[in-house]
Structure formats: C-alpha cells, structure tokens
C-alpha cells in the first residue's frame, strides 16, 4: 500500500467508514481507539470556535451546543489553521435563523479576531496632522473598525451605553476586544474617511463645522486611530 493510500485509509475510517482490521493494529480494542481520533475532531473544532466566539456562545446558551457543533460538522475544512475555521460562522448562523443578537455578536467577534491579526501602523499625532496638506489621504488605523451596534449588543459585549449614534469603534489594541460607542459627529467623520479621496474631501463630506471638526480631530489624535492611507 502506498503512502497516500495509508493516508486515505485512515482519513476514510475517521470519517466513519468501518475500520479495516487487517490494516490497523491492535485489533482487540480498535473501535474504541479509533473513536479517540473521531471524537478529537469535534472537540477541537468546537473548542476553537468557543475561544473566538465566547459572547455568541453565551447568548445562544444551550443552542450553542447544537449550532456550534452542527457548524463544526458542516465544515469541509480546507484551512490548515484551526484558528481560522470560524470565518463562515456568522453566515452559517444567519442561514440557520439564529437570533439577531447572536448573529450580530458573531459578526463582531469575527471582526475582532481579524483585527488581532491586522497590521499596526503608526498613528498620526497632532504635529503630523498639523502639517498635512489637503491632498493627503487619511484612513482609520487597520487595527480599528467602525461597526454598527444597538443596545442589546452593547449590553451583551459588555460596553458603555450608546451615544447619539448606532456606531461604535471596535478595537483589540488593549489585548481585549473593546467596543467604544461613537457620537454622531465621530461616526460621521469616520464614515467619510472610508470614502473621501483626501483630507479636503473628508472636511467637505463630513459636513462638520469648525468646532466639530476640531473636536473630532483632537479625539482621533488622542485615540491614535488616524493613519495615512
């Protein structure tokens, strides 16, 4: 039997086909020994999901056991890195008709996971900001994300109460995934960052008066979230 055939044999058996006793040893308790491998896949995938989606799991309660395991078994995992298997969980929960809070938390927790892996770029300080010309392109730091939230999400995260917008800043910079609710001025400023071609465009599109613009820039510098694109 060739090496790939050995590999295929064991893979098939672990997928549930009957053990080929003449090919594997020992034979006396073979079924029980193979079960340790079969059980391992489920335990590891479910555990990996739980570590990335703790809030989703908490909100779903007993349904997490069902939905999480169903998702794990639905995978045809091409991804070698077990940490990355949760990418499709938010869509899976949507397809399964999971409660909206669980779906929202899953999407946020996956975004938080992505932020952990994002580049850390030097943020603009006040001095650098003062020297920018209008053609400079600005962006939100890659380890930050503007996200939509509601009161239920903030309570489940947990995070401070909502301000006068339905937007928050998601960050993992402190080592923990934090949600910071945004004021409507902050939310509008960050929204136009995504679209505007340059500093001039941001100022024009945000529709903020001078005081508002000064305040939001001071906040952004203080929070170290603005970078050159």
């Amino acid at each position: 039997m060739s090496l790939p055939e050995h590999e295929a044999l064991l893979a098939w058996i672990l997928e549930g086909r009957p053990p080929a006793e003449q090919l594997l040893t020992p034979v006396d308790d073979l079924a029980e020994r193979l079960e340790t491998y079969r059980g391992g896949f489920s335990v590891r995938t479910f555990s990996a999901l739980g570590s990335v989606f703790p809030r989703t799991a908490r909100v779903l309660g007993e349904d997490w056991q069902l939905l999480g395991r169903r998702f794990a078994f639905s995978l045809a995992p091409a991804e070698p890195n077990l940490n990355l298997i949760g990418r499709a969980l938010p869509a899976f929960l949507r397809d399964q008709g999971a409660p909206s809070l669980a779906r929202a938390l899953a999407a946020l927790e996956w975004t938080a996971f992505e932020l952990v892996h994002a580049e850390r770029t030097s943020a603009l300080d006040a001095a650098a900001l003062a020297t920018l010309d209008e053609g400079t392109r600005l962006a939100l730091a890659p380890d930050q994300r503007r996200v939509s939230i509601d009161d239920a999400v903030l309570a489940a995260w947990p995070a401070p109460p909502r301000e006068d917008s339905t937007q928050a800043l998601l960050s993992t910079r402190s080592g923990e995934a934090t949600l910071t609710p945004l004021s409507s001025v902050q939310a509008r400023f960050l929204a136009v960052l995504d679209d505007a071609a340059n500093v001039g465009g941001v100022i024009e599109s945000a529709g903020l008066d001078a005081a508002q613009l000064g305040g939001v820039l001071a906040w952004a510098v203080d929070a170290a979230i603005l970078v050159r694109r």
């Binding site: 039997m1 491998y37 391992g40 990996a48 890195n81």
Partner: protein
Amino acid sequence: MSRPLFGVGLREVHLSELCARPEVCELYEIITENVCFARGAKRERLRWLAERANMGLHGLSLNVCGHAELDEGFLRELRALADELGALYVSDHLSWTRHGARSTYDLLPTPFTEAALDHTAARVQHVQERLGRPLVLENVSTYVRFASDELSEAQFTRALLERTGARLLLDVNNLYVNATNHGFDAAEFLRQLPDESVAAVHVAGHERRATFCFDTHDRPVSEEVWALYRAAMRRFSAASTVVEWDSAIPPLSTLLAEVARARVEAQQ
C-alpha cells in the same frame, strides 16, 4: 541550547499574568498558528515577552509527514516570526494533519516504513532550507499503528533525525502513552535516540483507560511520566523542559509548580 531552560506552553489565558512577571519562566513555547499571521497588539506583547525570556515556536499544521503540498506562504511567515522573536527553536509534529484539501485538525500517525521515511525526510529538509535552521520535531501520541509498519517508532525517529539533522522535541508523556498503547519499552526508545538529538522535552498529563492510555494534556504529569522524564534528562541533560497543558488549563500557579518539580526531577 547548551543550558537547560524550564518553562511552559504559553496559553492565551495566562498571557496577561505572564507579561506582568515574565521572569517566572526562562522559556515560553507559543503555538505558532496563534501568532504567525498576527500583526497587532498580540504580536507586540509576544515581542515584548521575547525580549525578557526565551521563546520556542510550536506548530500544529506543518503536515510534515503528509502528502499535501507544503504551504510556502506559511513557511515564509514562520521564518519571519522565528527571526523576529529570536526563537530558540521552531518545532512541529512528526505526523500528518491533512488529507487532500481537508485538514484533520489532529496529529495522525504516519506508517513507519522506508517509503514514509524517504518522503518525510525530503519534506523536513525542504522545511529546514526554507527556515534556515534545523526543525525540531515532536513525537506524537498514537492509538493505532499500521500493520504495514517496517520499522519501530524509535528506528524511524532515529533514522529521520540522522538523515536530516532535525532535532527532537521529546514529549515524554507521548512516549509513555505510545509505549503503553503499542507495547514497547520506553527506556529502549530513549537509548536508541542519537546523542544530543533532543532539543527540548515536554511533560504533560494523560488519561488511563481500560486498555490504553489517552493523551489529554489536561491534568498533572503522572508519576510514571516523571520517572521517564528523569531517565530522559539523565541522557539529554542539556535539553530544555516545557510543561504543557492544552485543555482544562489550570491557574498559572499549577503550571509553575510543575515547572519547579521538573527542575528538581531533572537533577535526579
């Protein structure tokens, strides 16, 4: 690696506590896949820790015994991470973890045959060229063997290390589990290893079932494994030691108590 170092497998739950007092261990072994593609705060904390202690990289997905093509992108990231952290060693497992396009997320046994030896040795050499350093390979726990095996685990391991210059991450718990599960002499396994071939030693816990041992890495090291550890350290006294828990992870103090015991046992 001339002086033996003692440390723990670094787990997320202990990271903040260890960053507050990094001096409690000389060596932290991190799961490669948890940080290989990380760029943000997580990586910065590990870099900070690496400036204060030695780091080992311990991977799960290299698939060095398997047939799926080696992931060149992953190897590039791995080398960059090892260089960045000044890693003492880069390790993975002597197993396969992928069949075709599907990952198994398990460390599955390779047949101990001459063909498997040729195949694995070629892949190990390729990985070492990409990494620019010897690879350190861990012996894995197994519950079944292939009837077609032509070599013992010791013979296979020894031949692989001699042929490639790779080193061994000797998990004495896994060795104990395999010796029990497949009825061979663990002490003889140690005797068959090449001199100075062991870069590091893992100690961990297992569960004894009716007819075999199940490797759990979720409980204290058993007395039988400590006895095997003493024997291993008499032979490979320069090897570093890592206490490893993978699930039901206890408070850091429990791990540090096992590290303290390892320091004592290594002198016996």
